[in-house]
């Protein structure tokens, strides 16, 4: 920032007998070179893969985000099958652990179908926005402002899901699951919602069959995943079995109003 200020200041007040060098450089003044270096530097600093900002500030609160993007297309395809049709998933739901440096850590998504990732939730959210835009357009109500409103609604929905899952985990005792894990689990619900909205564009009555199916599937997926997360927690799962079951049932049931609200765009 100081560099930018000094360059802009130099442009504003031009001394008649300064050194020749500042007048020669292409970055003198607010020119396109400034944009290039500014974007490159700040982009790398805040969003880049090896940025110190991410590594220093965020790792206190979040786990390493790089872990969640180690995916490939095969993983994405299989994980989508698990999310959308969890009944047909033959196989266990536990995450595979491996000893790394003396501690047990989970294998990355590329090697473990049950590991959460952040690529699918992000893309599912984007798909949700795009399909919401098309649905608004088919109804004749598309404006860029309406789309931005839908974007904010989607973010609120995602946040509510995160709060719900986090609250559930806290009340059942294993509240130290990594935050990005929970963000990932919460975002998986957008995949089913997007598909249901896509079906709605083509035939509106199909929506009322497909949407409950996907709500059910998301609920089942979340319940099965949370059971594994709880089992992996330090406190024993069997201490209050009935309370656990009621909470998990609540989690599955509340998916219905949540996803219906997200998929409803006529408001």
């Amino acid at each position: 920032m100081a560099a930018m200020n000094s360059e802009l200041g130099g442009y504003a007040g031009r001394p008649p007998n300064a050194q020749p060098n500042p007048f020669e450089s292409a970055m003198y003044g607010a020119g396109p070179g400034l944009i290039r270096t500014g974007l490159g530097a700040y982009g790398e600093k805040f969003l880049g893969s090896s940025s110190e900002f991410m590594q220093s500030n965020i790792t206190q609160y979040l786990s390493d985000p790089q872990y969640y993007f180690q995916v490939n297309s095969q993983y994405v395809r299989n994980k989508l099958k698990v999310i959308l049709f969890p009944f047909f998933h033959r196989g266990h739901w536990t995450r595979i652990t491996e000893p790394v440096g003396g501690r047990l850590s989970y294998k990355p998504p590329i090697q473990d179908i049950n590991a959460p990732d952040l690529y699918i939730p992000l893309m599912a959210f984007g798909t949700y926005i795009v399909i919401a835009g098309y649905a608004l357009g088919v109804l004749g109500k598309f404006t860029p402002e309406a789309l931005t409103l839908q974007f904010s609604r989607g973010l609120v929905g995602w946040f509510l899901q995160v709060v719900l899952i986090k609250g559930l985990l806290y009340s059942l005792g294993s509240g130290e699951a990594p935050l990005l894990d929970i963000v990932a689990y919460a975002g998986y619900g957008f995949a089913g919602t997007s598909l249901a909205m896509l079906a709605r564009i083509f035939w509106s009555y199909l929506y009322y069959f497909i949407m409950p199916w996907f709500c059910l599937c998301t609920g089942v997926f979340l319940v099965k995943t949370m059971k594994r997360v709880l089992l992996g927690g330090p406190r024993s799962y069997e201490r209050h079995p009935s309370r656990n079951h009621y909470f998990l049932l609540f989690l599955a049931v509340v998916q219905f109003p949540m996803l219906f609200w997200l998929g409803n765009i006529s408001a």
């Binding site: 008649p16 007998n17 020749p20 007048f23 020669e24 292409a26 020119g31 396109p32 070179g33 944009i35 290039r36 974007l39 490159g40 700040y42 982009g43 790398e44 969003l47 880049g48 893969s49 090896s50 985000p65 790089q66 993007f69 995916v71 490939n72 297309s73 994405v76 690529y119 992000l122 893309m123 984007g126 798909t127 926005i129 795009v130 835009g133 098309y134 608004l136 357009g137 598309f142 860029p144 789309l147």
Partner: protein, 215 residues
């Protein structure tokens, strides 16, 4: 009338190179006189060069994208990322939208920026192992150049009937073209297993722009 304080005459330091003073000294006039006109000479850098707008480069990049079957040349875009091409494309997009009765200049500029931030974020997470040379500036440039099929689509859509199935089909065709261009330019350094993932992200971005055109 006597001045109370001396007004020093304006003096330009001739030791600074490339200064106008060397060839055409600014004629000094006395105080209270309007400055005499000085005409620009050949020593000044042309305006486009000072602004870093290289129209020849923009034209070459445009031609390399336009051919729908032959692949765009990633190397040409890699070393010479610039923003003037994308800016011209977004302006052209806005003009065609204006012809259709929609004022979308600011919206398109904002969405291009947000979309390129999104793509940069996704791409940087994928190519973290190998230090890819995509920074935010280059990503913005690539997304902007990928807008060219969208610009053509917005021009074409002026002649298509609104709201029909035809315009949806044409929209999907142009979105696929844009996605192909952007993926080829963006993922030239990434592994093949990630190409489909990056292509989907690009597809989402250009579908949003097609929304602006179709509706």
């Amino acid at each position: 009338m006597e001045w109370d304080f001396p007004v020093p005459p304006v003096v330009f330091d001739v030791s600074i190179p490339n200064y106008r003073q060397q060839h055409h000294p600014i004629p000094e006039t006395g105080p209270l006189q309007p400055p005499a006109p000085v005409f620009p000479d050949d020593d000044e850098r042309p305006l486009l060069e000072e602004l870093d707008i290289d129209l020849g480069l923009v034209w070459r990049k445009t031609i390399s994208i336009l051919h729908p079957l032959r692949s765009a040349d990633p190397a040409l875009h890699a070393e010479n990322a610039d923003l003037s091409g994308p800016f011209l494309f977004v302006l052209a997009f806005g003009v065609f939208q204006l012809l259709a009765g929609k004022l979308h200049f600011g919206v398109a500029l904002g969405w291009v920026t947000v979309a390129s931030v999104f793509l940069y974020f996704v791409f940087s997470k994928f190519s973290a192992g190998r230090r890819g040379d995509v920074n935010l500036y280059r990503c913005l440039s690539l997304v902007g150049y990928g807008m060219l099929p969208m610009v053509i689509f917005s021009a074409v859509s002026l002649f298509l009937p609104r709201g029909g199935k035809l315009i949806f089909g044409v929209a999907m065709g142009f979105v696929l073209w844009s996605t192909r261009v952007c993926t080829r330019l963006l993922a030239s350094g990434a592994a093949d297993e990630h190409r489909g993932l990056i292509a989907y992200a690009c597809c989402l971005v250009y579908m949003i722009f097609s929304l602006l055109v179709v509706f």
